[in-house]
Subunit: 355 residues, 2 copies
Amino acid sequence: MSSVLFVDLDAIVGNWRTIRSRLASGCRAAAVLKADGYGLGAAPIAQALHQAGCTRFFIATLEEGVALRSAVPGAEIIVLNGVEPGTARLFGPHRLIPMLNSRPQIEEWGSAGPCALHVDTGMSRLGITLEEAQSLPPPPGLMLISSHLACADEPDQPMNRYQLAEFAAIRAHFQGIEASLAASSGTFLGLEWHADWVRPGAALYGVNPMRGQPNPMAPVVTLQAKILQIREIDQGRTVGYGATHRAGNKARLATAAIGYADGIMRCLSNRGHGFVGDRRVPLVGRISMDLTVFDVTAVPQEDLFPGASIELLGHSITVDDMAEAAGTIGYEILTSLGPRLERRYLHQNRLGHAQ
Amino acid sequence: MSSVLFVDLDAIVGNWRTIRSRLASGCRAAAVLKADGYGLGAAPIAQALHQAGCTRFFIATLEEGVALRSAVPGAEIIVLNGVEPGTARLFGPHRLIPMLNSRPQIEEWGSAGPCALHVDTGMSRLGITLEEAQSLPPPPGLMLISSHLACADEPDQPMNRYQLAEFAAIRAHFQGIEASLAASSGTFLGLEWHADWVRPGAALYGVNPMRGQPNPMAPVVTLQAKILQIREIDQGRTVGYGATHRAGNKARLATAAIGYADGIMRCLSNRGHGFVGDRRVPLVGRISMDLTVFDVTAVPQEDLFPGASIELLGHSITVDDMAEAAGTIGYEILTSLGPRLERRYLHQNRLGHAQ
């Protein structure tokens, strides 16, 4: 009876279709599944998306690619971190395609098979420079050129136009090779950013790709913390480590089996909240490793018992809401969700465990 | 070639012995292994400690207890979250001992076997109240009474003495039953806090149990981020999402295969640092999900190549140092360390993978 993370695969597929419906003519939508599908489970997500027609997946590391291959034998899998020293021979048996990021990676790969090429246009993170790209013949097996936007969630940032112009120069150099620039937010910058492939990740999982505007994506995750114990405390009694919360009145508290080890960031102490039904329940005291306490005084007593749920993410609290309260982005909320949470998957309107 | 988390089991055993050497006469030291051994791997840690003479382990959930049982068939395992509705019959086959936290849990357990009892003295989190405890006969099978300090890392907090007095009243009521009050920090409050068992967790893993004083614990973890790519950027060029770092001069950058999905909290963006050898390398730009960029301009070029390491935790940067930079506690740094990090274990001076 651990706390439960529900992942709505139908909503993920719906979000992928929403993106696909908005693409420029001829552009296709891949899906990004790195960090175990942003913490939600790469394998079941890949299977649901593959069934819906998604043929290309991006992950970060060789190990993630090997793990994903058995889930989607028929799909293309591209490894964003590329080929590291001594690992080229490990790609072939799993039909993994490296994103080559540097001259050493290009040399390491040689002509070992299909590959993608990452050209940096403003992240200064991975990728060869435009000048390097323009001096290079296409590596053998090159099937995709790719770049990545630094400020796609800020449509008015001049960086976006700058990167688009650099990207156009890359495409001109590698004529006839498919190209990809936009991830989630880039896709929503407009048709001219779409090129041949878009690579949505966070948007598939319900994170708003258009900061400050209505979210075009459906919510995907519901996080239900399980109540372990209900207690009443007297006025003046303190709660949790450091005694940082003091009850102003007699209060009823619910202690839930979830903590920062499960991804409820400790910085939400005395700031976060949950819902029991439609009642907002403030999080009181410091979040501990395995436990979090909520003030449930406002909740009807019949809704409070060991095993009852407090919703921490869902329709009333989005991933973006929790991220804002924690001073971060939805992406980090998702990847922080811990391994103790039981994952349950909704697929084609049926609820089940993974696989 | 993912980034690597080295866990020094010899240091954990050494820390456990350090604690044991400081205990009041007759007091014994258990070990807390919840949240998969604070993110470091409960099974190998339990085996090393059991070999060294530790016979009692605490974990949070039934699932953690089941997983740990096969690693240490001969040890006592106590489940801190206790027995949830309908789960009593699942404890026996794995010889797990519940910490009973409430009247419903006491009723649920009945006389199903050995049990511990948690009496709350000031956390308002789990546990029956002192008044409830004083009105109860000892539950059948009771072998330990336990409470938990809220402010043990602040020795001058009056809460500590208050809780000690309440605890004395509990012990008086349950005469002849062993008792435990102190976790890591409580152990260092002094001999009168030791009772029959102390329950160190974080201190075993190198977190300082005495805030603001020299750390009596040896460091346990070393985190080596692997360099994927080295690049030079011109003055004025920006780094990462949101272009939040701009190179003041021509700079050399190293992009490492580690990100917030691996537990390098995003709030360390533009604030954290690492070491290459004895050179401090500042973290520049925003941390991304799978990648982090460091300014390595000060590092000799022969130390910079794909596959080289940047130390993010170790002798030069402790878990507590990183926690301070991130505005949290070492406990959360440890439990945030992600599943992609390869865990390697040092045991009896030999390096190996787990198990």
